[in-house]
């Protein structure tokens, strides 16, 4: 069963990260790398995304396509990366995500194919 994990960052998380010393930042990134290594056999591909400032959104629900800068919401929470995983069921995905050491919110969505 394939799921996509969508990693969601909050403003507070970004601020807390900025406030860290270089060593704390390195440790934090190290924990993320360890997590990725530990679960490598379940990971099917994904990417960290560039900062939301770099996003371009196309809205298709108006009379004609409307292109804007910025992310899809004026939100304080943004998707900062995604990862496709292949696991047995939702409980296995939940177990994996419970130990995720990065951003504070992760959405788990089953993939269609």
């Amino acid at each position: 069963m394939k799921y996509v994990l969508m990693f969601i960052e909050t403003e507070k998380f970004a601020q807390d990260f900025e406030a860290m010393t270089p060593q704390e930042k390195a440790e934090s990134l190290g924990r993320v790398t360890n997590w990725l290594t530990e679960h490598a056999s379940k990971l099917r591909g994904g990417s960290r995304l560039q900062h939301p400032d770099t996003a371009t959104t196309v809205r298709l629900d108006g009379s004609e396509p409307f292109v804007t800068d910025g992310p899809f919401v004026e939100g304080k929470e943004v998707i900062s990366g995604f990862q496709e995983i292949e696991v047995e069921d939702l409980d296995e995905a939940l177990r994996m995500v419970r130990t995720w050491p990065g951003c504070p919110i992760v959405e788990i969505r089953p993939a269609m194919f």
Partner: protein, 407 residues
């Protein structure tokens, strides 16, 4: 339909629907299909039993109908058909089948309302119409919740199984929370107006007793069962003949079921001995036990109740619990202290009727009558429970000095 047939079907459904669904789903591996087959069988019974009479073995009858319906609907799918044909009604049933079912229905990835609807439908065998009536929501809403939940179970691959031991306590909390919600909904709505709708307290007690049988070493399950039984033991004193709510203070304690109270307290004591840090259900049951053991309102051990609320707040902080603690503080330590506690809850409980009713009562005792009236009016505006509404209206009209607790 005659009363006997309805009662008999209700009993058969309650005792066997969960087992039926569990046995079909474990064979077919399809939660949704199994569940629909059971509901079909129940609805067929609703039409057939009044005409044909109650079968000798209602459980076997329901099973046969469910299996036949499955064969009719799915005869083109060879594999499915073979599986269904092989299926037999097991006696005695495997003990943990229903446990798998209830863990699936109460999976934390499902919305709370969906967990409730699905549990009532699949484990207790209620129809969508019965669930809708119990919660006073449109039947279409209940049907939609159930459909969405079943789709999510399939599409998001929510597993049909008992979770591994390490995950049981957390998942069990989810189940107990669902049953506790059922119990509260039933308990607060047991009014004259709803006398003809299904008694959710019955379902809550039945589910908890079943869980207690399947998980005899879980003290919180025993705690919840004791809590429900302690409240039920006092039911006959909670309402007047015409359905008016009688507050705990004024209940005729001779009408409480002493034998049931003693049983529940024994159950609670046994559970508490196994556990050094009692959880929220055992603590709430212990508070209910303090009330049940008091021979009169004046005899209530309020100091002990305040202590139990302190422990409860330490394991499960909630403004509603703090409100109940404040009420106990009034009797243990006096009005001034209780009022000071209440004032700290103003913001958190602004939309909670019992908060305003309690405040009104204290204000009245301080002779601040205008403010008391305002608080009562606010409580009346917020409550949807007819018995509470009656009580508040009466109080607003006559200025009597009573609370709204009723527990």
């Amino acid at each position: 339909m005659t009363g006997t047939v309805t009662d008999e079907l209700a009993r058969a459904v309650r005792d066997h629907a969960g087992r039926l669904a569990a046995s079909l789903v474990s064979m077919l591996g399809d939660f949704s299909a199994a569940e629909d087959l059971v509901q079909d069988a129940v609805e067929t019974a609703l039409h057939r039993w009044p005409i044909d009479g109650i079968p000798d073995r209602p459980d076997a009858w329901l099973f046969t109908v469910a299996r036949r319906r499955g064969l009719d609907q799915l005869r083109r799918q060879q594999n499915y058909r073979q599986k269904l044909a092989q299926l037999t009604w097991p006696t005695p049933p495997p003990p943990d089948e229903r446990l798998r079912l209830i863990f699936t229905c109460c999976h934390p990835a499902l919305a709370k309302q969906a967990q409730i609807a699905l549990t009532l439908r699949v484990v207790c065998g209620l129809t969508t119409a019965q669930i809708a009536a119990a919660f006073v929501v449109p039947e279409t809403t209940v049907a939609r919740r159930i459909t969405r939940a079943k789709t999510k179970i399939t599409n998001a691959a929510i597993p049909y199984r008992i979770p591994p031991d390490a995950e049981i306590p957390e998942r069990l909390n989810e189940i107990l929370a669902v049953i506790y919600l059922l119990f509260n909904e039933g308990y607060l709505s047991s009014t004259a107006e709803r006398a003809h709708s299904r008694d959710l307290v019955d379902d809550a007690e039945w589910l908890t007793a079943m869980l207690a049988g399947l998980l005899p070493n879980e003290p919180e399950v025993a705690g919840l069962l004791a809590l429900i039984r302690l409240h039920r033991a006092r039911t006959s004193a909670r309402f007047t003949a015409d359905g008016q709510l009688v507050l705990l203070e004024h209940q005729d304690r001779a009408r409480w079921d002493r034998a049931a109270i003693d049983d529940a307290i024994r159950l609670l004591t046994k559970a508490a001995r196994r556990h050094h840090q009692p959880g929220p259900y055992q603590l709430q049951a212990a508070i209910a036990a303090c009330h049940a053991e008091a021979t009169s309102w004046a005899d209530t051990d309020w100091a002990q109740i305040v202590v139990l609320y302190d422990v409860l707040l330490a394991v499960q902080p909630s403004p509603v619990t703090r409100l109940h603690r404040a009420i106990a503080v009034k009797y243990a330590h006096g009005r001034q202290q209780a009022f000071a506690e209440l004032e700290k809850l103003e913001e958190a409980l602004d939309r909670y009727p019992l908060f305003h009713a309690t405040k009104a009562q204290l204000l009245r005792e301080f002779d601040r009558l205008e403010e008391a009236k305002e608080a009562d009016a606010r409580a009346l505006e917020l409550t949807h429970n007819p018995a509470q509404q009656d009580l508040l209206q009466e109080r607003l009209a006559s200025g009597v000095r009573d609370g709204l607790g009723g527990r």
